[in-house]
Amino acid sequence: MSIYDVIFYLFAILTIGSGYLVVTSKNIVHSAFYLLFTLFGVAGLYVLLAADFIAIVQLMVYVGGILILLLFGVMLTNKVTDVKIRTGTIHIIPAVIGTGLLMGVIVSMMLRTNWKSEPGELPFTTTYGLGRILLTDYVLVFELLAMLLLIALIGAASIARRDNE
């Protein structure tokens, strides 16, 4: 068992364990924090997969952006005076069965599939490469996503502001 493996398992356990807590925790704030760990774990996995830039982006966008956004959501939708920021659950039994089965099926599917695996050489740092393909091969997607982000920004602002009317 190499050090790489050990690190992988650490991050994997971190990711899955905190992911489990995210979905089971009754307190939304706690869940949010567990999500932080999950995202962090995932970022670690990215690093292990030689995706340094993505890992950084993961941390920045998710942890710095989305998670904060979610926390804002929690705060804004639950009255602060109301301590009960716990959330109820539904469909526990069908969900357990369903997702359990789904997990089993997907995992077995993943494992049984004979993936054509031939690890290629990736550059030490991917930032340069990503930048290149983003502005060459994927330039259209890139531009579209930029537009999308803009639209989402405006849209979110407009939806959130609707109450004024």
Partner: protein
């Protein structure tokens, strides 16, 4: 114990995906549903990147992961805006109680 390879990542992503689905399905609070969605998206991203590494596809997979993250950001923004609106309309954000779709 076998060496960590593609399958390991895939298993992790599968579990993460299932946990995300579970979260989406079970939680009443809309914000929690969003968190489940984030888990699902992350699971997908793990797959992208894992295949990028082991599938010899160059950096395409990573670029895709990047896009997903961007989408996730956009989605989160919109979704939170909607949640806020929901809250204003129904005074709560419990998805199970918002069943106007039934009619």
């Amino acid at each position: 114990m076998i060496e960590v390879g593609l399958n390991h990542y895939l298993v992790v992503s599968s579990i993460l995906f299932s946990l995300g689905v579970y979260g989406v399905v079970t939680r009443k609070n809309a914000v929690m549903v969003l968190m489940g969605l984030e888990l699902i998206l992350n699971a997908a991203n793990i797959n992208f990147i894992a295949f990028a590494k082991y599938g010899n596809f160059g950096l395409g997979g990573q670029a895709m992961a990047l896009f997903v993250i961007i989408l996730a950001a956009a989605e989160a923004a919109i979704a939170l805006a909607i949640v806020l609106n929901l809250y204003k309309t129904f005074s709560n954000v419990n998805v199970d109680e918002i069943d106007k779709l039934k009619e």
